[in-house]
Amino acid sequence: MNRLSALALQLRAVWMLLGVALILVVATPFFFTSSNLMAIALAASITALLAIGETFVIILGGIDLSVGAMLGFTSVITAMVLPHAGLVWGLLAGLGAGAGAGLINGLLVTKVNMPSFIATLASLSILSGLTLYLTKGNPVGVSSEAFRLIGTGRILGVPTPIWILLVCAVVFGTLLARSRFGRQVYATGDNFEAAHLSGMPVTRVKVAAFVISGVLAGIAGFILAARLGTAQPSAGKGLELTAIAAVIIGGTSLLGGRGAVVGTVIGALLLGTIDNGLNLLNVSPFLQDVVKGAVILFAVFVDRNAGPIRIIAQSFKHVIPRAPTPTKESVPTR
């Protein structure tokens, strides 16, 4: 991938974030305070974690609709295991549940050859149903103080969940950008057959991406339970769509082969900032989803029309009579 163009796609999310932030700084005095910025990051950390996992799956040309349901499932599992087996086992149970669910998704997609949309739609339904069954629909309270610290503690004045997000972003960002596995993810997502013919373990790569998605949902799951002090069975409802939105705003192509973790995290922060700003501006919460939808459309519009927009911008500089409107095909075969 051309470094510069890859960067430009990620940058788009940065510009949009800066733009929204600038508007909010002007519009409300409450926005640009450290406590408010911290609150934004804290709220966005859950979506960002889900979205990081989703990034791997989407670069592979798939989609994981079950991340929200996995979050609910894992947080309930953690909360239920915690009082019996202690902190470590509780966390491991949550992570294991996420990894297991991801593994099943991965196997359904690769071995059973199901489209990921359908396989993960089914697991969304199964997992959220299972979560409700296990809890009889009631929240599961957690009392362990040590566990609560994961959600409410602070290190150097910054809430723990933000640290966890940072660590995950660096670890998984590096994994994607620098490791052999990352190369295999991009190549497989770009052209599955070509990756297969190059001797890449394409099946394993796909399964691994779904497992990563599940593990990150597990992490997000216990953070949420720790922060709220209870595991809500329906906590993850609809979060998969926010996570997918963050990935797309972050410049990852739904067609696969292109994207990065940085953009995804910024995309999640942008969505969080918009939520926060609309709250501060007293906009009806019902309208917030409308605004978020518009942001997604705008991001994708810019992505699709980057060429023509540049041409229009250029034609203001030197006016060419009857400037050609290039489409994808009109790039000469040179």
Binding site: M1, S179, R180, R183, A194, P326, P332
Partner: protein, 498 residues
């Protein structure tokens, strides 16, 4: 019909592709358009067909000026194009008949509801009159690539065309299918249709065309007739400099057997194939499309199941299972379909080159990006890959340079055996020469090459030995002076003739 182009210019942004083309095409004549990739042939075809508006210049039909703003305008004037990417113009989920009449506005096959019975009957007649044997009910996605191409051609010429442009029509066809196509082209010419024929294959152009027009860098470099010219002169005009022997074959064969097949079978594809390939040797495999030559390579690479017989690599038994195992044993496979199973086109040149050899530059799971870049640069220099940088996505490169990237990926593995299928398909003259040079260089190092090609001159000239397959079996082995295009064809088609 007579089509006259005067001073056609076309540019994309800064890049001027056509720099003032004057061209006249007459009815009842085949005008061949030749040139390297990027010379402007396809762009010119698109200007004629109304797909691209020209920036300057005029188009006249029978003396009156016309200007097409979209392909439909040109179609109304009787201009039809069969594009290189003909599959884009077919509907894979629809039947042959439905595809044939997709653009039919006459209402003969129904307006609101289609009259399938009549459509299939008409389609059947059209197909029969063109000598094509396919069911009008078959779904297009189930057709083979050559069949799809023939359908695209039938669709184009069925619509009362007075000018037909063929853009690389034989790229996906084998010899027999190409012959069938030539019959159609000649028939159209008899009917007075004007034909523009774009092709890289000089032999077929010399056999078919009445006039030759060579484009180079967006201008007409040579205009001549086959009788008044030679292949050598045309190639010179294409590349802009005198060329040495076009097939610079070096014989590097040794006695050491690298690959030995005994009675190899793959059920339903080929059977009882015996083959010996020596180090430094190029063994060509000839035969018509579907004779099993491609399947043989894919089986050796672990892509298709081997159902019987044995393979020996350097004297040791080898069972092809997966591409990964094949690569580890020193076998590489250059696919004929570089778009669909060759390159990851959104990824950079450097990444594509290292795709099959990541392990060597990985430590602790992390890829050494510097080494990856360095390898890319090395291959770019070694194969003369024309790219602004090794960080450019492969999609930005021309067909020939993409092919070199793919070849570079396999050279990185230091293969013992290189299985090549259509190594020069859709590749310009310059890149072709480069690929032949690589073949010589590799064989001189003792690499054994199995070459499958439907480009007969290439197959015959670049191989030390040629085996011919027919209906899944080896029917002839030709060496030395017996290796001629005629003898390959003869053995490939024998049963069809008898």
């Amino acid at each position: 019909m007579q089509l006259k182009l005067r001073g056609i210019r076309k540019q994309f942004g800064e890049n001027e592709v056509l720099k003032g083309i004057d061209l006249t095409v007459n009815g009842g004549e085949v005008t061949a358009l030749l040139g390297e990739n990027g010379a402007g042939k396809s762009t010119l075809a698109r200007v004629i067909s109304g797909a691209y508006p020209a920036n300057e210049g005029t188009v006249e039909i029978d003396g009156s000026r016309v200007s097409f703003h979209k392909p439909q305008d040109a179609m109304k004037a009787g201009i039809q194009v069969i594009y290189q990417e003909f599959r884009h113009n077919l509907f894979p989920q629809l039947s042959v008949a439905e595809n044939l009449y997709a653009g039919d506005r006459s209402g003969r096959h129904g307006r609101l509801w289609s009259n399938r019975v009549r459509m299939q009957k008409d389609a059947d007649e059209v197909l029969k009159s063109l000598g094509m044997s396919m069911s009008p009910r078959a779904l297009v996605r189930d057709l083979s690539v050559p069949q799809q191409q023939m359908l695209a051609i039938a669709k184009a010429i069925g619509e009362d065309a007075s000018l037909v442009i063929f853009d690389e029509p034989t790229a996906a066809l084998d010899q027999a299918e190409s012959e069938a196509l030539f019959v159609q082209v000649r028939r159209l010419r008899e009917e007075g249709v004007a034909i523009v024929y774009i092709s890289h294959r000089l032999t077929e152009v010399f056999g078919l065309a009445d006039r030759l027009v060579v484009l180079r860098d967006g201008v007409v470099a040579l205009e001549t007739t086959p009788a008044a010219s030679s292949e050598r002169e045309v190639v010179q005009a294409m590349v802009g400099r005198p060329v040495e022997n076009f097939y610079p074959k070096e014989h590097n064969g040794t006695d050491h057997t690298v690959l030995q097949l005994r009675g190899l079978c793959s059920a339903g594809r080929f059977s009882d194939v015996d083959l010996q390939v020596h180090a430094g040797e190029v063994v060509g495999i000839g035969g018509v499309q579907g004779c099993g030559k491609g399947s043989l390579l894919r089986s050796l690479y672990g892509l298709l199941p081997v159902t019987g017989g044995e393979v020996q690599l350097d004297g040791a038994a080898f069972r092809p299972t997966t591409p990964r195992a094949a690569i580890a044993s020193g076998i590489c496979y250059l696919t004929p379909d570089r778009q669909n199973e060759g390159l990851a086109v959104q990824q950079s040149v450097a990444r594509n080159i290292s795709m099959a050899t990541l392990d060597a530059i990985t430590s602790g799971g992390m890829v050494n990006a510097k080494a990856e870049q360095a390898r890319g640069e090395k291959m770019r220099a070694a194969l003369d890959i024309k790219a602004r940088s090794v960080n450019q996505p492969v999609s930005a490169l021309s067909g020939g340079n993409q092919q070199k990237v793919l070849l570079g990926r396999w050279l990185m593995t230091n293969p013992k055996i290189l299985l090549m299928e259509e190594p020069t398909r859709g590749v310009d003259v310059g890149a072709k020469a480069e690929i032949y040079r690589v073949i010589n260089e590799q064989t001189s190092r003792g690499v054994a090459i199995v070459l499958v090609s439907s480009d007969l001159p290439e197959l015959v000239e670049m191989s030390d030995r040629v085996i011919v397959m027919r209906e899944g079996r080896v029917v002839a082995e030709l060496a030395g002076n017996d290796t001629t295009q005629e003898s390959v064809l003869h053995h490939a088609l024998e049963s069809a003739a008898s």
